[in-house]
Amino acid sequence: MIPILFLLSVVVFALAKAMPGDALSGEIDPTKTDPQYIAEMRERLGYNDPIYIQYIRWLTGFIQGDFGKSFKYKMPVSDLIKERIPNTLFLGVCSLVITYILAFAMGIYSGKHPYTIGDNAIATFNYIALAIPIYVAAIVSIYFFSFKLGWFPSTGSVDIGLEKGTLDYWISRFHHVLLPALVLGAFNTASYTQFLRNDIMDNSRKDFVRTARAKGTSEKAIYNRHILRNSIIPIVTFLGFDIGSILGGAIITETIFTYPGIGQLFLNSLNFRDYAVFMAITMMISFMALLGNLIADLLYGVVDPRIRLE
């Protein structure tokens, strides 16, 4: 994992350096600012040093938790990210909960009653949800739920002027996060539902189910205790990948809802050539993906002891 992270840091740094322009060319109006001052600033920030020295300086700082300073926001990147991460995590967790609740409800129903009208309806819904791109879902839901019905706010993460920590504050936050989380969560159920449905169908034909029926276990207990426990195994491993994509998975949604999270910060940092922010976020997103893979591997072993033995 360490060598991969090292390689990744080289790639990210190289990409940042290969991008045209730097923070100074984006921020300062060259007609108004003294070119000598810009040159001085470049020198002072070390933009004229050889590439490898710049890389080593960035990497050593990064390992020690110093991600540099944002040019746009005039504050340390770590503070900036610390400010945004709770929002993105909140959105990510809410959307995951929605996905799992919906997928479990639909998957269990479909697995129990395969090839019925309900099963077909669920399959149709998942098919359509899979085909609708997230940004289309987002703007359509803003149009209906925010503009036409006025149920949800369409921008931001909390109403202005509420004191942190109060009940109103949390209600407002939840109110703001619900629509993006629904868009993100409800349109992502297809693979989970399909997986659960097929697994339940497979398991319900197995011998242990026949045994359970033969000894007179109620149908409810068979499905909820015997089958579901086995069918959860493949789903649990999805969780690892979900955790891996929590930070980087909501870039589009956050931007459309102007929700102040990591994804929105990332796009802004690219627009303003704010490299310190951009590199830190890219590293974090990649690291989370790597971590997600690791968690998925570990979860395999936790839920299925047969894998641990090998």
Binding site: I4, L7, L8, V11, L15, A16, A18, M19, P20, Y127, I128, L130, A131, I132, P133, I134, Y135, V136, I139, V140, I142, Y143, F147, S154, S245, G248, I251, I252, T255, I256, F266, L267, L270, F278, I281, T282, I285, S286, A289, L290
Partner: protein, 301 residues
Amino acid sequence: MSTATETTRSLAARQKSPSTWAIAARKFRKNRLAMAGLSFILLIVILSFLAPVIATQDITRVHFDQVEKKPSVEHWLGTDNNGRDVLTRLIHGGRISLTIGFSCVALVILIGTLIGAVSGYYGGKIDGLLMRFTDFVLLFPFLPFIIVINAIFIGKISGVWSLIIVISLLGWPGTARLVRGKVLAEKENEYILAAVSIGTKPYKIILKHLLPNVLSVVIVQASLLLAAFIVAETALTFLGFGVPQNIPSWGNMLSEARNSNVLRNKPWMWVPPATVITLTLLSINFMGEGLKDAFNPKSSR
């Protein structure tokens, strides 16, 4: 006795059992949803690529006297902020979006199949090295990396092509893994051993013996990729990081909806591209499912 065997042989020769492709084609034709999807895609493709002939209105000129007109007889789907006809732009936009989609699929299939086949056929060190590399590229977060690399290329190569190259550069690992897995399984067969034993050159074995047998998987994968890449293009353009503003594409048209005034009060500007994108993706998915089903020997429909 000998005549009996002869008749059975000649019978067998006359009633040749249908090939894999014939069976797949028959199954596909029977699948109504898949055929509907295919027809819709063909319709969109034909309309889009005939754009210069059927939609002759100038899409670059700004008409200040016809700004933001509602749908009417003159402009079937209304006009946008610059007085351009929405329908005309929709047709021209389809050309760009589909060109990007199909080009990316072609490039990704080419790269992925090449790497996957070489990796699976040779195995050993080459396999280890190529698969490590594949895993590494797979680790890159897709959307952020495309945005970044595209920002590097965009000034140097014309907008559409830079996006095609960048998506292809990052999109191939899944296909490579898939092809490698299939090749690994396929090369254990005796006919490959036979080909090796008579001294067939490796590239000939890969091209003539292995690839035809993994082609069905690649075709299904291509249909899935087409949907994924059309989504990628439109999403990036929607965010303002894809195709430049002056080129009409479905993503560019949809990005007008980021202006909340347009989103709230002028749905005719963003509903058409949103609908067309969704229908196209739905059709591609139906077609992909149909193909998967058609090539699956276990499904007997």
